[in-house]
C-alpha cells in the first residue's frame, strides 16, 4: 500500500534520471534540479517565517512577564500603603489621645478606662492601653494583662521608642492565644521629660485588610518580620509565628518584584515591600506557571499555527517544484525527439542529394555502355560478320542485361532523391478506390503466383484530402514487400477502418510470409538496410515509404512473427493537414 502511493506521486523524471545515468550523453540533472529548487524555496520562505515567529514569541513572552511583574508590584505597593495607613491611623489615635489629655488624666484609671472604651467603639481592635514613665516603669494600665509596675527600661522596644518616638511590635500570641501587636508612642513633656503611651491591638482588622485584596494566580499574601517570622497566616509557607521557608528579602526602600525558584524547582514571582516605621515586610508570592497560563495557551496556538504554515508551505513547494520540473523534463524529451527528427531529416536530405548526384553521374556512362553494347549486337545482326559466334552474342547480352539492372538501381535512387525534398500535392481521396488501383498494378503477379488477395474496407470511411500519388506509392511499396516475402500460394489481407473518433483511418497490409526477426525490427526503416541484397534489393524501399508517410502526416506501425507473417499498419489523418 505504501509503495504504490509513493509510486504514484513519484514523478517520471525521477526514474528517467536513473535510466540515462548509464549513457555517455550529458543528461539534464532533473533530480538535482528538483532537490535544489525545493531546498532553496523552502529555505527562503520558511527561514523568515521561523525567524519572525521566534522574535514574536520572545517579545511577547517578555511583555507578558513584565506585565505580570508590574501588576504584582502595584498590588504590593497598594497593599503596603493600606497597611501603612492602618498603622499610621492607630498611631495617630494615640497621638490625639496624648495631645488631648493631660498626663494626670491618663494616669487616672477611670479616665483611661473611658478612653479605652472610646477607642474600642470607634477604631476597634484596641485590647489595652497603658502609660509608661520615662524610667520605663509601667504606670496606669487598663486591659486584661497584669502589666502594672512592670519595668521595661532594659527592653529593646523601650529603647527604640525613646529613640524614634514610635514603636510597632511584631505579632505575638497574646491574650487568649490570639495574635496581637503593640503600638507605642513617646510624648515629650514640657519639662524635658517624656512618657510613653502604649496600646495592644488585636490583628483581626489587620488580617481583614489583607484578605480583602483580590489575588489572581493563586498568590499568597502575607507579612513577615525582619527575621522571617510570619505575622499573618500564609497559604503555603507556614502558620502565624512560624518562620517561612524562603530566604528573607533584603531591605529596599520601594516595592521590589523578582523571579525565584522554590525548593521544588518551580518558578515563583515574589513581590515584597518593607513597611516603614514597623518591623513588617509585606510579601506576595505567585506561582509563575499559573499566572502565565493564558500566555502558555496562546503560545501553543502560535506554535501550532507555525507548524501548520510550514507544512502547507512545504506541500506547495513540493507540488510546484514537481510540476515544473516534470514540465521541463517533458519539454526536454520533446526537444530531444525533435532534434532526432531534424537530424534524421537532414541526413535524409543529404542522402537524397548524394543519391541524385550519383545517379546522374552513373547514368551517363551507363547510357554509353548501353548504346555501345547495343551497337555491337547490331553489328552482329545487320552485318552478319559474327552472327555465327554464339559466345560473343551471349557476352554482349549479359552486358546489356547488367546495364538494365544498373538502370533500375539508378532509377530507384533518383526516386528516393525526389522524395526527400518535394512538397505535398493534395487531391480528394477515396481510400477504397485507391487501394484497388494499386492492386491493379500487382494483378498479373498475384495471378501468376497464385497469391490470394482479400480486401476489407469499412463503409464509414469518409473521403479526405491527401497526396494520391504518394499514397499509391506507399501501398505499392508495402504490397511489393509482402509479395516478395511470401511464397507462391500465400495470402495478402488488406483492411481499412476509421478510429473511434473518426480523426484518422488505419490501413493494415498483412501477409503470411516469412516474418521479420526481432533483431531486425528496429532497423527496417533505416535507409540501405536490406535483406534482399542478393536479389538486387537496395534497402531503400521501406525508408522511402517511411519518409512518404511522414510527409503526408501519417504514421506506420509494424508487427511481425517469424514463420507466421508480417503486418504493416498505416494511419492517415482524416482532417486537413
Amino acid at each position: 500500500m505504501d509503495m504504490s502511493i509513493i509510486g504514484k506521486i513519484k514523478p517520471d523524471f525521477w526514474n528517467w534520471q536513473d535510466m540515462l545515468s548509464n549513457s555517455s550523453r550529458p543528461v539534464f540533472k532533473f533530480r538535482r534540479m528538483w532537490k535544489f529548487t525545493v531546498l532553496l524555496m523552502a529555505v527562503v520562505s520558511i527561514t523568515p517565517l521561523i525567524f519572525m515567529a521566534v522574535i514574536d514569541y520572545h517579545f511577547t513572552n517578555k511583555a507578558v512577564k513584565s506585565d505580570i511583574l508590574l501588576r504584582t508590584s502595584r498590588l504590593v505597593s497598594n497593599t503596603r500603603r493600606t497597611i501603612s495607613f492602618f498603622l499610621a491611623e492607630r498611631k495617630s489615635a494615640l497621638d490625639f489621645i496624648v495631645m488631648d489629655n493631660e498626663f494626670d488624666t491618663l494616669n487616672n484609671p477611670e479616665q483611661l478606662e473611658i478612653i479605652l472604651k472610646n477607642l474600642k467603639d470607634t477604631f476597634g481592635g484596641f485590647v489595652d492601653i497603658g502609660v509608661i514613665n520615662s524610667l520605663g516603669r509601667h504606670g496606669n494600665y487598663v486591659g486584661p494583662y497584669q502589666l502594672m509596675g512592670k519595668d521595661y527600661s532594659n527592653e529593646k522596644w523601650f529603647k527604640l521608642v525613646m529613640e524614634r518616638g514610635v514603636y510597632v511590635s511584631d505579632v505575638f500570641l497574646g491574650f487568649r492565644n490570639v495574635p496581637h501587636i503593640v503600638v507605642a508612642i513617646k510624648h515629650e513633656t514640657s519639662d524635658n521629660s517624656f512618657y510613653v503611651l502604649r496600646a495592644t491591638l488585636d490583628t483581626d482588622r489587620f488580617y481583614s485588610h489583607l484578605s480583602k485584596i483580590q489575588i489572581s494566580g493563586g498568590g499568597d499574601f502575607f507579612i513577615i518580620n525582619r527575621k522571617g517570622v510570619l505575622q499573618t497566616p500564609s497559604r503555603r509557607y507556614g502558620k502565624v509565628l512560624e518562620k517561612i521557608s524562603l530566604p528573607i528579602p533584603e531591605y529596599a526602600p520601594k516595592t521590589m518584584v523578582f523571579e525565584e525558584k522554590d525548593e521544588f524547582g518551580r518558578s515563583l514571582i515574589i513581590g515584597y515591600s518593607y513597611i516603614e516605621n514597623s518591623p513588617f515586610i509585606l510579601m506576595v508570592i505567585k506561582q509563575k506557571h499559573e499566572v502565565m497560563k493564558p500566555w502558555y495557551r496562546n503560545r501553543i496556538d502560535l506554535i501550532g499555527l507555525l507548524i501548520f504554515s510550514i507544512f502547507m508551505i512545504l506541500i506547495v513547494i513540493l507540488g510546484v517544484a514537481t510540476f515544473f520540473v516534470e514540465k521541463i523534463h517533458l519539454a526536454d524529451q520533446k526537444q530531444t525527439a525533435i532534434f532526432h527528427k531534424v537530424e534524421y531529416s537532414n541526413k535524409m536530405a543529404s542522402l537524397g542529394r548524394l543519391a541524385a548526384g550519383v545517379a546522374h553521374e552513373v547514368n551517363n556512362p551507363l547510357a554509353i555502355i548501353n548504346e555501345k553494347a547495343g551497337l555491337i549486337k547490331d553489328l552482329f545482326v545487320y552485318k552478319q560478320m559474327y552472327s555465327e559466334d554464339k559466345k560473343l552474342i551471349g557476352l554482349v547480352d549479359s552486358i546489356l542485361s547488367s546495364v538494365k539492372r544498373a538502370g533500375t538501381i539508378t532509377k530507384r535512387l533518383l526516386n528516393f532523391a525526389r522524395h526527400s525534398d518535394l512538397s505535398v500535392e493534395t487531391k480528394t481521396i477515396n481510400i477504397g478506390e485507391t487501394i484497388q488501383e494499386v492492386l491493379g498494378f500487382m494483378g498479373k503477379e498475384a495471378e501468376y503466383r497464385s497469391i490470394t488477395v482479400l480486401v476489407n474496407v469499412s463503409d464509414d470511411i469518409p473521403s479526405f484530402e491527401n497526396d494520391k500519388g504518394r499514397i499509391q506509392e506507399i501501398f505499392l511499396n508495402l504490397i511489393n514487400n509482402s509479395f516478395a516475402a511470401m511464397d507462391d500460394g500465400g495470402h495478402l489481407n488488406i483492411t481499412a477502418k476509421c478510429n473511434y473518433d473518426k480523426s484518422s483511418v488505419s490501413i493494415t497490409v498483412r501477409d503470411d510470409g516469412g516474418g521479420i526477426p526481432e533483431d531486425d525490427m528496429k532497423r527496417i526503416f533505416d535507409p540501405f538496410f536490406s535483406t534482399k541484397t542478393k536479389k538486387g534489393g537496395t534497402g531503400l524501399g521501406l525508408s522511402i515509404t517511411y519518409g512518404l508517410i511522414q510527409k503526408i502526416g501519417g504514421k506506420i506501425d509494424v508487427e511481425s512473427e517469424v514463420g507466421k507473417g508480417t503486418s504493416f499498419t498505416v494511419t492517415l489523418p482524416l482532417k486537413n493537414l
Partner: protein, 115 residues
C-alpha cells in the same frame, strides 16, 4: 540527334541507321543550329541538360529554323513527373529516360511522325 556525350549519340545514330533511319548527330547546340542550314530533318532528338543551352531553349531555336520538325527529348535525370510537366510546357509530348531502349526510341519516332 544532339547530346553533349558524343560517344552516346554516335552509337545511337549508328544503330538507328542499321534500322533504316537516316540519323545525323552533333554534340553541341551551335553545331545543331548550323546543321539545319545544310539539311532539313523530320525529327530532332535532344538531350535536355547540355552546357551553354538547355534542351528546351535549343528546341525553340531549332523550331524557328524548321517549324515542321518534330522533337523528342532525352534525359539522364530522374524526376519523371516534373520532367513530363516541363516537356509538356515546352510543347513536346515525347520524352525518354536514359539509358534509352533503342526499340522504344524507334516507337517514339514512329509515333511522333504518325507512321
Amino acid at each position: 540527334m544532339v547530346d553533349d556525350e558524343h560517344e552516346l549519340v554516335s552509337a545511337l545514330a549508328e544503330r538507328l541507321s542499321f534500322r533504316g533511319i537516316d540519323a545525323d548527330w552533333v554534340s553541341t547546340c551551335n553545331d545543331a543550329i548550323k546543321r539545319l542550314d545544310y539539311k532539313l530533318f523530320d525529327v530532332a532528338i535532344l538531350d535536355v541538360k547540355m552546357p551553354k543551352m538547355s534542351g528546351i531553349d535549343l528546341k525553340r531555336a531549332l523550331q524557328k529554323k524548321c517549324p515542321t520538325m518534330k522533337f523528342i527529348f532525352m534525359t539522364g535525370h530522374g524526376s519523371q513527373e516534373d520532367f513530363k510537366d516541363c516537356c509538356e510546357e515546352a510543347g513536346a509530348g515525347y520524352y525518354l529516360i536514359k539509358p534509352v531502349d533503342i526499340e522504344a526510341l524507334i516507337n517514339k519516332i514512329k509515333k511522333v511522325l504518325k507512321i
